[in-house]
Amino acid sequence: MSYTDLLKKKAILLDVDAGDGDRILEVLADGLCNLDPELVPRRGELLDALRERETLGSTAAHMVAIPHVKLPGVKKVSIVVAVHQAGVDFRALDGELVHVFFSVVRPEESADEHLAILRWIADIAQHQDFVPFARQATEPSHIIDLLAEFSPA
């Protein structure tokens, strides 16, 4: 199962240089609003939900983090992928800095699809070549191609 079809070029944020984990969440919230106009008036709510989610336990490991939330009333799943060259301390269980963020916002009634999306991202993130290649990307299309290549058949 692949969700690369969900990814548009404007969903890929390269050269993000936010200074800390909280600033990254703001960048991700902006990216998600850019994908779904319905989120724009709810940016504050989205950002609060992302912050709240991370207080429940870090979503980071293997230099990848998956800050994800559900929002009532949202009609579709949106995914943003952000690449941070220097890496950000995102309280990963393994202590590593995070270089690639997958941020997901989804409708309330989508628990099974949500698990499938997390599984898709986790499968890709476990490839030891994924983060090094993602950091070399110079165009959004490189990331989309990389995700397609690393998606399980």
Binding site: L56, E108, A111, L115, R119, A122, A125, Q126
Partner: protein
């Protein structure tokens, strides 16, 4: 002499093993020296790797085998089985 323990568990919480339960599994497994794997129908996950656990994509009703090896394998398997039985301490949809 290493012990080896196997426990059958079921995912009982409505949302399945999403990120928060994955985190709880890894935190619990990491308290023990034993190596622990979760075996599903089509793959095996290292219980100490959050990404590995999330690749199980285990929805409510999924049956998994906890397989632990090491001196404290029994305690590790018991602690994880308890976590599954408690539905990862989630109430309803969260």
């Amino acid at each position: 002499m290493a012990d080896s323990v196997v426990r059958e568990v079921e995912v009982v919480n409505p949302l399945g093993i999403h990120a928060r339960p994955s985190h709880a599994i890894v935190s619990t497994a990491s308290r023990f020296a034993a190596a622990v794997q979760l075996r599903g129908a089509d793959r095996v996950a290292d219980a100490r790797s959050i990404l590995s656990v999330m690749t199980l994509g285990a929805v409510q009703g999924t049956r998994l085998r906890i397989e632990a090896q090491g001196a404290d394998a029994e305690a590790a398997a018991d602690a994880l089985a308890e976590l599954f039985a408690a539905g990862f301490h989630e109430r309803g949809d969260s």
